[in-house]
């Protein structure tokens, strides 16, 4: 590591799909940690569709990123310097930094030491990280799934969706996974063993296709897509059904008036439907217990995932675009540096 580092800054606000010109690479001098702070060198950065929300100037309630600021991401890194007694140089941590080779943490918020090296390191920002935890707490705290219930998961070939589909199955639910195209659907069926898979690209009417798999209706919709899928599935909700708004990837790139409007709201009253959005950091204190359960399933071969890896900071914008274009599927991950051989041993 030299005395400078690179980061990807927002160069202009996005309109529709991300374009290369929306981003710029900036080189900054390596900062020095103040008292209580840490300097962290990033090994991985996530490529998440949710990042899109703050990259355009939308309605005023969500402050957009300022131009020139680093694009946000979840990271896995190694402590280079520590002026915080809870961390030592060499510690591997997960944290929130961005598309950047290094950064300063104030030692608070989402910053956790990695304790279990018996799983692949990158799993800690994937199936054991924010996407896996989103699936875990979305199904438990908001979805309150119970064995025997029918759970529909949209965008099920993505990391959040695939983890949710598998957790619901492990909890004894009937799972219907929705994904686009034969390759993703085959992976869900053959690799993950999800028995009921709906290809939304092949279905003229998504609601009807899901209804055919769920003759008795849907108890929980774990949705990653947004308004169009919520609207299609609302009429299938059973009494006391729950809709977990985990992501809105289908809506992020649309202007306000292009977004699909949810019209089928009568089941909110007739079927006591509850719809709630998830921000997984509300469950921060429960992360270690959830990660232990997820790691157990992972090591037992009961929880699988698929990774799409990009090498080098400069790949971030095109990787980000790939996420929305659905070129590949699974966890999109940016590798910024080699993994340390035995740093945490």
């Amino acid at each position: 590591m030299t005395q400078s580092f690179r980061r990807i800054a927002l160069a202009r606000y996005l309109r529709g799909l991300p374009e290369p010109e929306d981003f710029s690479i900036v080189t900054d001098p390596l900062p020095q940690p103040a008292d209580g702070e840490l300097l962290i060198h990033n090994i991985y950065a996530s490529i998440d569709p949710g990042t899109r929300a703050r990259l355009s100037q939308g309605p005023s309630y969500l402050p957009p990123l300022k131009l020139g600021e680093t694009v946000g991401a979840f990271n896995l890194g190694q402590v280079l310097e520590s002026r915080n007694p809870r961390f030592q140089p060499g510690d591997l941590v997960t944290w929130t930094c961005g598309w950047a080779e290094a950064g300063i943490s104030n030692g608070r918020g989402y910053l956790a030491r990695i304790t279990d090296r018996s799983v692949p390191l990158a799993a800690w920002i994937g199936v054991l990280g924010i996407p896996g935890l989103t699936a875990y707490f979305g199904l438990s705290r908001l979805g309150q799934i119970a064995a025997g219930e029918t759970v529909v998961v949209t965008s099920a070939a993505g990391m959040v969706g695939a983890t949710a589909a598998q957790i619901a199955k492990l909890r004894g639910c009937r799972v219907v996974a929705v994904a686009g195209g034969p390759v993703k659907c085959a992976w869900l069926r053959e690799e993950l063993g999800i028995e009921q898979v709906v290809d939304h690209k092949a279905a003229a009417d998504l609601g009807a296709a899901i209804a055919a798999c769920c003759p008795d209706g849907v108890d929980v919709l774990f949705d990653n897509v947004g308004n169009a899928s919520v609207d299609a599935i609302l009429p299938l909700m059973r009494m006391n059904g729950r809709i977990v708004v985990s992501g809105q990837v289908g809506d992020y790139n649309l202007a306000g008036d292009q977004v699909h409007g949810i019209r089928n709201t009568r089941p909110f009253i007739t079927h006591r439907v509850r719809m709630q959005g998830l921000v997984v950091f509300d469950d921060l204190r429960e992360f270690p217990a959830a990660q232990a359960e997820l790691a157990g399933w992972l090591k037992a071969g009961k929880l699988k995932y698929r990774e799409v890896r990009y090498q080098g900071l400069e790949q971030a914008p095109s990787a980000f675009r790939d996420v929305f274009e659905g070129r590949d599927f699974g966890r999109h991950l940016l590798q910024l540096a080699p993994e340390p051989g035995d740093a945490a041993a």
Copy 2:
């Protein structure tokens, strides 16, 4: 009471606003109660917008009324004959029967003896009945309101909305009431003492008009209108905001594609918004305690209401139309027989 009774039957499925031809008056012989049953003579029947939901052939998930069946309503009546040990002839009860002069109860479900005659009898199917209880449990169980929070109530001049606005105020909340037209707004301000009232008919942009009253946002939206108001107010929701779907009076008469679509769903994630529909019968066991608290406020002059009374069964269809046309406001009530002078004394 003779050996026959009259009832209003559904003659054809409604399209849009209710028309006189949608209903017919049927005379039937007075039925005899079987073992466990009661014959009840109705004194009042409610005229509720929510009744509209089952009067048209909509999507399959909600079974519509069959043609020839009695239009549903909440009733207050007196037991004529009882073959149920829990009730005696002369008992005054609230129950679910319909627009009918009499009917048979099986003794189960929503059937409760009126215990407190120190309030007006009709209050038992108004502010102490389903509308008042809807306001009460919508704000408590779903809205989880707390003192100091900002609560927006739509259709606030209706019985449910007006009760909700007053309960929220009694619980120490800041209340913004939304109603249409200067007469309703003046009543809310002057009679009920609601300080912040928005006239949606005078506001070009409902969201902006409410935002002007709520510079720090909205904690709870208690909505009686439907998708258009939910969509307008969603961007104002504060962190962990709750939307209580109490009624959808603005949508009941619209065909599916005419219904407003909710587009502003991003706050579900960014602000952890929870939206949930209420069916007040889920709180059946808690009714007596809630009614005692409501009756206390009523007797202390802290809870007010406005009644629009129609006389005679044949008035039901036009009264029902009046509800949707907003000709008057408050509890619309159909009186079918005189109140007994001292029956429960």
